[in-house]
Assembly symmetry: C2
Homo-oligomer: 311 residues x 2
């Protein structure tokens, strides 16, 4: 039984990870300032003797004892992270520095939730971990992309210099229950639009592609990565690729909605194509996604339907 810190544990991914860690019988401490997360995501654990929730901003130092740190705190959706770019950069730069300082101090292992965005608008497909990426250092996405890149860089600097045990997950687009309905990412937008009878909004020509991974697969991957010997950056994503316009039609059909698909101007620096090469996770972690899109989307639609009925 380990003492495990989860930063951003009240968020979408973090709260599912907390469920897994609690079920495995660990002591879990969530640190979250509820910037994009919600207390209700972890509400079912409040009062449990192995669970603690700390309201704290990780851009400020944090002092506690733990064996492992899953460092997830960071807004993840483009409209959120672009809304306050200074805050976004501070979270990745200062937040990660603080968590590495903590890891060093208490000799904990730290896993960074990095992102496929470190590859930017990739020119190589699918993306392997040794691809160096194509990121605009000064564009509107750079607060997030460069923040995560420097966070990775910090991890390897602390590993080399202070012998900190680090793990780096490069997470590709993930969806599932507990996404915030107003999160602004494509899965929640399309489902909410279809459910509410609004037009589905495709940004650009819709030919850009993404790969969607269900959150339980990601959580399994994060857990395996943390407890493996693999300290290389590791892609965690579902390699099934789909274009955004095909995805719009898919969601419309799935929800059985008679809404139109509306094409809006493209987002600046929107990556054109993205698909993980998961050979490393497959071989070093024995991990691969097991939930197919239909199953994942069904569960997510059910969740948003319940959300809507409570609004």
């Amino acid at each position: 039984r380990k003492r495990i810190l989860v930063t951003g544990g009240a968020g979408f991914v973090g709260s599912h990870l907390v469920d897994k860690l609690m079920m495995e019988g660990h002591d879990v401490v969530v640190v979250d300032n509820f910037f994009t997360g919600r207390k209700r995501n972890v509400h079912h654990w409040i009062g449990h003797p192995h669970f603690e929730l700390i309201n704290h901003d990780i851009t400020k130092p944090l002092h506690l004892q733990c064996d492992q740190i899953y460092h997830l705190a960071c807004p993840a959706s483009p409209p959120h992270y672009q809304h306050n770019p200074i805050k976004t950069i501070k979270i990745s730069a200062l937040g990660t520095l603080n968590m590495l300082g903590l890891a060093r101090h208490v000799k904990a292992r730290m896993l960074l939730a990095s992102t496929s965005e470190v590859y930017g608008d990739p020119q190589v497909h699918p993306q392997r971990e040794d691809y160096w990426g194509n990121v605009n250092p000064i564009g509107p996405r750079s607060c997030y992309d460069e923040g995560k890149r420097v966070a990775e860089s910090m991890c390897y600097a602390y590993q080399k210099q202070e012998n900190i045990s680090i793990r780096v997950a490069r997470i590709f687009n993930t969806f599932g229950p507990r996404m915030h309905p107003n999160d602004g990412r494509v899965v929640s937008n399309f489902i909410m639009q279809a459910l509410q009878g609004h037009d589905i909004t495709v940004y650009g020509d819709g030919k850009q592609t993404r790969c969607f991974q269900f959150v339980s697969d990601l959580v399994e991957g994060l857990y395996k990565l943390m407890n493996s010997n693999n300290n290389l950056p590791t892609n965690l994503g579902n390699p099934v690729e789909t274009s955004i316009s095909a995805f719009a039609r898919y969601i419309r059909k799935h929800v059985n909605a008679s809404v139109s698909i509306k094409y809006l101007p493209a987002a600046i620096d929107d990556p054109h194509q993205r698909k993980p090469d998961i050979t490393r996770a497959r071989t070093l972690l024995g991990w691969q996604p097991v939930v197919d899109l239909d199953t994942g989307i069904r569960k997510t639609v059910e969740y948003f339907q319940k959300e809507l009925s409570q609004m």
Copy 2:
């Protein structure tokens, strides 16, 4: 007459910039912790009523009044910045954040000394400012490269969100008097080796290229950029390209030394080719280098000869 802060003003580039600013009649404050810089570089100004020298580490907050900030503090030579990668990242990330916070607080304009290293090992030649670069986010150079990239990203975040006036200079290899003899960069290494009768050490096959700019040209460019309306990242470099092995032969001949050229293993992730496209600086600043290599190297050799005679 302006109150001008120069971080890293006791370093190689910073001290020449200070000379220029003092000659122009400004009030100059140097903030430096003498990590790679030396007090003697600005010794001739100490006691001058318009000059102040503050011993301070800019990873910690700084509070003073000023109109302009030239933010140069950062080790610049690969052996120095790789020696303590954590420190290097902190200087770029925390140091730049602090200087932007200061700029915001006192409504100063801030110029960031960025680098051609934001292009990494470029795949496009020459490098224009709209090239996104090819940087290894986790390699031994990443503490510097990613640090500078996130520093640029911070500048544009503060510009967008807080309306801070920012200037971003992407500086290409620069040389001249006051380089530290043990700095470890190619120009000082080769000249010192030739002067001392040691073998000249070429890393790798010597086919990699660089462009060398004399420091007075750079200082002129920095000054013009600061006082221009151009807030785009701007390359400052001399487009004359030379291979490192040709440069080794050139220095040997120049110094008239009968030393051998020794080929050592290549440095990891060493950029293969680098050359600035300076169209932007030419058109927006009316700037271009005016000192040719022979003149610049002659002055630099004289400087190192004097240094050696005092050792």
